[in-house]
């Protein structure tokens, strides 16, 4: 199965070419177009109750789509926000994705739900997160550009900008500076990440856009 991320970085989408026997798992609603030779089946995302959990707390769909073909075909997958898409290859390792980031994966990758903790919640990253593990490719998207960073020691990420991180990364909510500078400096709460491990960040945050838009509505 071949996949190519096109139109990067602002309006990235994934073009996947399937041959007979290939399978692709994708988030419900990610499919933008597909060949008529491609078949789509929908099932609960890991079972009804875990699917519900993922929907309510993880921002993911209750359902997951599986694409197959009896001959060959093409699918184009996309995401709701303008921004980049990244593909990583899991080699038995695990990655946590923020709500709504997941787009697609190989069928050999396991999808699960994990408790992100109050630090993540306070830092604007949600109470739950999606856990991807196993062997295979995972595609995830972001609002804005995606950049990865290897963390050794402590690093500060503004709320809403952290999209994925490894289980070896510790999260702690905190203030950007003192009370005065945190709130009047416009940064508020941040997430302090401690390594070793890798994090993925997005260059824009939806909350920032919403706040800017609201301020200009009156």
């Amino acid at each position: 199965m071949e996949a190519e991320i096109r139109n990067r970085p602002a309006f990235a989408n994934i073009r996947v070419t399937l041959k007979q026997g290939d399978r692709l798992i994708a988030e419900s609603g990610a499919m933008a177009s597909m060949s008529s030779t491609v078949e789509m089946s929908t099932r609960f995302n890991g079972g009804f109750f875990s699917g519900v959990l993922r929907r309510v707390f993880g921002g993911e769909s209750l359902f997951i789509n599986e694409f197959t073909t009896r001959s060959s075909g093409e699918i184009v997958l996309t995401q709701p926000t303008p921004g980049d898409i990244e593909c990583i290859e899991l080699k038995g390792n695990t990655l946590y994705l923020q709500p709504g980031a997941f787009i697609a994966c190989d069928p050999t990758v396991s999808l699960g739900m994990g408790w992100a903790g109050f630090a993540s919640f306070i830092g604007g990253e949600g109470l739950f997160r999606l856990k991807v593990s196993g062997q295979g490719r995972v595609w995830f998207g972001a609002y804005g550009g995606i950049f990865a960073r290897e963390i050794e020691g402590e690093y500060v990420v503004d709320s809403g900008h952290l999209i994925a991180y490894e289980p070896s990364i510790h999260l702690r909510a905190g203030m950007a500076g003192g009370i005065f500078s945190s709130f009047f400096g416009g940064e508020g709460l941040v997430t302090r990440v401690t390594g070793p491990g890798r994090i993925y960040m997005q260059s824009r945050s939806i909350e920032g856009l919403a706040a800017w838009t609201n301020a200009h509505l009156w």
Partner: protein, 385 residues
């Protein structure tokens, strides 16, 4: 991910960071040997950290991930399995005992701290929810008292077209309006806001209802005028609706609905935004009803108005007893914002019993003549397209 069910007792699921690996990381099976910790990845490649040079750290997302690192940090083997640290203490006896003991103590302390924090946060959330509710309820009254009555009037004016649109057109008859206005004025002169200028509209609708908009506009549906048996019963309905206005129940609903935002706006003296928002909520509140406590409060004040005006407040009870209960079976009435008629009737009787005795007279209003005039006015009005 490595299925821990398939691992031997001395093997643990974990991972490894190393620049030697493609991508710099991989999942691995961790094994504790005689000389050190090894991590074997899927293709059989193995990385090793000797106990003699192993630097232990604890951390990760869960706070209990153990990192075994070489001094130059070129290799980091990590594992989150609960059995790993005790097994490491046993396997690395002498070389890492002190570090492992310190780590176990630190981990135990963190677990208690995490549990306390979790419980603390849950209790705080509960307190905030419950406390916030009561603060909001009492704060709503104080916030409403600070808002001038002119705001109620503006909200009512803005909401009138959409409320009217839900039912039908106004039946215009000058004599009827004059009579109803006189009845309202006779009640209102005894209310806390006797300077409020009430306005009454009769609406063409078969529904048995009357409703008040904030600021003093009262809509009476024709169905109600056809149903009430005496002028006293009509006075009872009007007394109830007048009380909703003078007690400013709409604005209280508004404050409760929007809560903190409105409270802050009121404190800052910015009430402009309330009008636009209030129109929308007032429409909803007028159509969907008030809270149970507000309905009972309006009954209580309505009884006082009737008594002060010299009208028999018992007629409020007879009116409820004649009224068909709204589509809510008795057992579910506590769910509805309209307390069931039986409860209201009992509450009103109790209130009346507490009032001083006096002589009552019926309102000076000819119901039959009023209905006849309305019938003629309906026929004479142009039909809406």
């Amino acid at each position: 991910m490595f299925d821990s069910d398939l691992l031997n007792d001395d093997e643990f699921p974990g991972g490894v960071f190393s620049k030697e690996l493609e991508g710099g990381r991989a999942g691995a099976t961790i094994r504790l040997g005689d000389r050190g910790v090894s991590a074997r990845i899927e293709d059989g490649f193995e990385l090793f950290v000797a106990y003699s040079e192993c630097q232990l750290e604890i951390g990760g997302n869960s706070g209990r991930m153990i990192f075994c690192r070489t001094p130059d940090r070129s290799v980091t083997i990590f594992c989150e399995d609960r059995r790993f640290l005790p097994a490491l203490r046993q396997a690395a006896t002498g070389e890492l005992t002190e570090a492992v003991e310190a780590m176990l103590a630190k981990h135990s302390q963190r677990r208690w701290s995490a549990r306390l924090t979790t419980w603390g946060v849950l209790v705080l959330c509960l307190v905030l929810l419950v406390g916030g509710y009561f603060v909001l309820m009492s704060g709503a009254r104080a916030a409403v008292a600070a808002v001038p009555f002119a705001v109620d009037q503006k909200i009512g004016e803005a909401a009138l077209p959409s409320v009217l649109g839900q039912f039908g057109s106004e039946i215009k008859d000058a004599e009827t309006s004059r009579e109803l206005q006189a009845l309202i004025d006779s009640l209102n002169q005894h209310s806390p806001l006797k300077d409020v200028k009430f306005k009454v509209l009769v609406v063409e609708s078969g529904d048995i209802n009357a409703m008040a908009l904030p600021g003093g506009t009262i809509l009476i549906l024709r169905g109600l005028l056809d149903t009430v048996k005496t002028p006293g019963e009509l006075a009872g309905v009007l007394a109830h609706e007048i009380s909703h206005v003078t007690m400013r129940h709409h604005l209280q609903q508004l404050v409760r609905t929007v809560g903190v935002v409105v409270a802050i706006e009121v404190m800052l003296g910015d009430v402009g935004g309330l009008v636009a928002l209030g129109s929308q909520i007032a429409t909803q509140a007028t159509l969907n009803g008030y809270s149970q406590s507000q309905e009972l409060e309006a009954d209580r004040e309505g009884v006082k108005l009737m008594h002060a005006a010299g009208y028999d407040p018992h007629e409020m009870v007879t009116m409820f007893e004649n009224l068909p209960d709204a589509n809510v079976p008795e057992v579910l009435s506590w769910l509805s914002t309209h307390p069931d008629s039986g409860l209201r009737a009992a509450t009103i009787r109790q209130l009346i019993a507490e009032l001083p005795r006096r002589e009552y007279n019926p309102p000076a209003l000819d119901l039959e003549a009023l209905r006849e005039r309305l019938g003629k006015a309906r026929h004479n009005q142009p039909v809406a397209e």
